[in-house]
Symmetry: C2
C-alpha cells in the first residue's frame, strides 16, 4: 500500500535535532557557512546517515553530497530531491536542513518498503546555496552554469576560497566538471521553510511554489554638491540626501499601489564625503526589487528608475544608475506542482499556491528539468537568524509530502511490481 | 596722516601668490594640513618675510607663529591679529592665508610709517585651525583651553600626532604652556574669506561679524527590524530607512519655516546590517545644526529631536539619541565691531553685519579678550576646495580694513606723537 507509507517521525525529528548540533550557536541557531568546518562535518554526518540506511553515497566535483537509491530499470532517469546543509552566518537550524533531512528520510522509507523503482531516486545537498563564496554554487555546477570566471571571482577573498576548496578536497576544475546531462534527470523537488508569514496567517500547512521571483538589483547614486553646511544657506544647497529621502518615501507608495505582488528594498546607503559639516554630494543606495512575473519585473524597473529621475529633476540633482544584476523569474513545472498537490490531497493536507520571494536551488534546477518546490510554515516568518522555527508537525508534513511527491514523480503506484 | 595709510597692493598680492605656491595642488588649491611639510614650509616663509620687514618673530609652545611690532610704552598690552596658514586637505588658497598675509602687511605698513605705538602689535598664525589633529588647536592653547586629554586623543592616530609634533620641534608639554595671560591682550581681530554667498549677492565688500554661530551635533539612530527583503511583505516591515527619509524631508521644512537664521545638515549615514536583501535595521545619521542665538539653538534642538520622536512614532520605529558636542555661540565685541566699521567708513567701504556660520579662531579669542572679525567676498561662495577665490581688490580691502582696525584698536590717531 504505497498510499499508506509515512516517514518515521521520531527518526526525522531526531535527525533534525542532531544536525542542529553541528555548528550550533548559543542563541539556538547554527553557524555553518559553506565549506566551513561545521559545514564539512554536517556533510560527513549526512553521508554516514545515508550509509547506515544502506543508500549509496556520492560527492561530485562541486562538493554536492548525495544519497542514491537505484532503480533496476535500464533506461531509468533520476528524480532528484533535497536542499542544502550550509547556513548564513549565525543562521537558523531549518533553512535548507529540513529539505535535506526530509529527502534522506523519504529515500529511507522507500528503501525500507522494498519498492521496485521505475527511476533512480537521489537526495542531494547542494554546496553553498547561501552564497558564502557564490550563491547557488552547487546547483549551478550541476546545471553546467558555473564558469571559470565565477570561481576566479568568489565573494570574499580569492585565495581564502582556493584554500577552502583544497581543504575540502575540492578543486575549481572538479567544480566545472560537476555538470550532469539534463536528460539524465527526470524531475527535481525541494521542500523548504517558508521564511515568511503567508502560511502561518492563512493557517495552511503547505505552500506549493508556482515560481521563484525574479530579482533585479541596481546601484542608484544621487548627486548633489558638497558645500559647507554652516555657510551655505539651505535654499542654495544641492543636498543629495534629499534625493534619497524622496525616493524612499515615494517608492514605497509606488510599489504598494502599482505592484501589490512585488517587493523592493533599499538596503545599503553610502554618503560622500561623509562629514558632520559637509552637505552630502553623493548618496549611493542599493536598490533591489522582486516580482514573479517577468513583465511586471520590467514594469517595476521602469517605474522605480522613472521615479528616481523624477526626484532628481525636482530636487535639481544628478543621477547615476548602475545595473548590478538580474535574475529572471523561474516558474516551476506544472507536472511537479500537480504531483505535490496530489500528495497533499492523499495526505489530507490543505495547500496554497504561492510564489517564492526568496532564491532557492530550485530556480537553477528549473532551467534544466521539471522542477518544483513546496514550503512549510515558519513561526513568525523568522528567517536567516537563530529565531527561525518550524513546528515538529510541520517538519513531518514536509517529509510526508516530499515522500509522496517523489513516489509520484518516479512513477511508483500501488500497481508498481514489487 | 594716519588716515592716508594704505597697504602696498603689489606686496600683499605677491605674498598671497607666493604662499599659494607652498603645498600647491594641480587644481589650483593648496594642500597644507596642519604640521605637514607644506604647513611647516609656509610657517618658515612667514617668519622669513617678517624678519625681512624688520619685525620680531616668535614661535610659542603650540607652534603658533608670530611677527611682533613693539610699543615703547611701559604698560603696553598686545593687539593681536591674524588667522591660520594650515588648510583642509585639498583646500583653497585664501582660507586662513588671507588673514595672515593681511596681518603681516598691516604690521609692515605701520612699521614703515614709524608710528609710536601705544600698544604692541602682533600678527599671528594659529596652529591647526582646520582640525587635522584638533580644531582651533593653536588658539585654544593660547587661551589656556587646551587639555592634556585633548593632546592624548587627537583626531587621527595618536602616535602619528606625537611623531608629527616632534618633527615640528614641538611637544605636548610646550603646547600646554602656550597660554597667555588674558590681561596681556588688548584685543583680537581677524579677517577671513566669507565662504558663503551673502556678500557677493548683496554686492557689499565687507561683512562685519557679529558672532560665530553655536553648533550642536548629534548622532540619531532610527531602529527597525532586519527582515528578509524578499519574503517579508512591505506592510510588515519596520524599515529604519523610512525613519531617516521622513526626518530628512520634514526637518528641512521645519528649519526653513521656524528658524530662518539657522542651518542644519545630515552629513553621514550608516545603515546596518547593510545588504541588498535585508531590510535596514539601524540607520545612524550625523545631525548638526547652527544658530547665532543661544536660545534659538536650544529651540532648534527641541524641535529637531521632537521631530525625530514624532517620525519614529508614526513609523513604529525606535530612536537612540547621542549628543556629540555643543559649541556655544560666540558673540564678538562691540568695541571691535565699532573699530572695523569706523575703518570701513574711513576707507569708503560699505559693510554688512552678519553672523559667521563657520567656526574660526575668533570664537576662542572671544572667550578671553575683546574679539572681532570681518569677511571679504568668496566668489560663488566656494570654500574648502580648490575653486575658492577672492578677487584681488577684495584682498586689498581686507588688508586696508585690517590696517585701520588695528590702528584704532591700538589707540593710534593722527595726534599720536611720532
Amino acid at each position: 500500500m504505497i498510499e499508506a507509507l509515512r516517514v518515521q517521525e521520531d527518526r526525522l525529528l531526531a535527525d533534525l535535532e542532531n544536525l542542529a548540533g553541528i555548528g550550533a550557536t548559543p542563541e539556538g541557531g547554527v553557524h555553518r557557512p559553506a565549506l566551513s568546518a561545521a559545514d564539512l562535518e554536517a556533510r560527513h554526518w549526512l553521508m554516514a546517515r545515508a550509509a547506515e540506511a544502506g543508500l549509496e553515497t556520492y560527492i561530485d566535483g562541486a562538493g554536492n553530497v548525495s544519497a542514491v537509491l537505484r532503480s533496476g530499470v535500464a533506461d531509468a532517469r533520476t528524480v532528484l530531491c533535497g536542499s542544502h546543509l550550509d547556513s548564513v552566518p549565525q543562521g537558523g537550524r531549518f533553512d535548507g536542513a529540513l529539505g535535506v533531512v526530509a529527502a534522506l528520510e523519504a529515500l529511507r522509507v522507500i528503501k525500507e518498503a522494498g519498492i521496485n523503482l521505475p527511476h533512480h531516486l537521489e537526495a542531494i545537498s547542494f554546496t553553498d546555496e547561501e552564497g558564502t563564496w557564490g550563491g547557488l554554487l552547487g546547483s549551478r555546477a550541476l546545471a553546467g552554469q558555473l564558469t571559470p570566471d565565477d570561481l576566479d571571482n568568489p565573494r570574499g577573498d580569492r585565495h581564502a576560497f582556493e584554500e577552502t576548496l583544497r581543504a575540502a578536497g575540492l578543486s575549481k576544475k572538479g567544480a566545472l566538471q560537476a555538470r550532469r546531462a539534463p536528460e539524465s534527470i527526470h524531475a527535481w523537488v525541494e521542500t523548504h521553510v517558508e521564511q515568511g508569514l503567508r502560511l502561518e496567517e492563512a493557517g495552511v500547512p503547505i505552500g506549493v511554489v508556482t515560481g521563484i521571483v525574479g530579482i533585479a538589483s541596481y546601484w542608484l547614486t544621487f548627486i548633489g554638491r558638497a558645500d559647507h553646511a554652516g555657510t551655505t544657506p539651505l535654499d542654495r544647497r544641492l543636498d543629495a540626501l534629499r534625493g534619497l529621502a524622496e525616493f524612499v518615501r515615494q517608492s514605497r507608495e509606488l510599489v504598494t499601489n502599482r505592484f501589490p505582488h512585488g517587493v523592493y528594498n533599499c538596503g545599503i546607503v553610502e554618503v560622500l564625503p561623509g562629514a558632520f559639516n559637509i552637505v552630502p554630494e553623493r548618496v549611493r543606495v542599493a536598490l533591489e526589487f522582486r516580482h514573479i512575473d517577468p513583465g511586471k519585473l520590467e514594469a517595476m524597473r521602469e517605474a522605480l528608475l522613472g521615479l528616481a529621475l523624477h526626484v532628481v529633476e525636482v530636487e535639481g540633482l544628478g543621477l547615476e544608475v548602475e545595473a548590478k544584476g538580474i535574475q529572471e523569474p523561474a516558474p516551476t513545472s506544472r507536472d511537479v506542482i500537480n504531483a505535490i498537490e496530489a500528495a497533499c490531497g492523499a495526505l489530507g493536507l490543505r495547500y496554497l499556491e504561492m510564489p517564492s520571494y526568496a532564491g532557492h536551488d530550485t530556480q537553477v534546477m528549473a532551467t534544466i528539468t521539471r522542477a518544483g518546490m513546496f514550503f512549510v510554515p515558519s513561526v513568525g516568518g523568522a528567517s536567516h537568524n537563530p529565531r527561525e522555527f518550524t513546528r515538529p508537525e510541520d517538519c513531518v508534513h514536509a517529509g510526508n509530502v516530499l515522500l509522496h511527491t517523489v513516489l509520484r514523480l518516479a512513477g511508483v503506484t500501488d500497481s508498481t511490481p514489487k
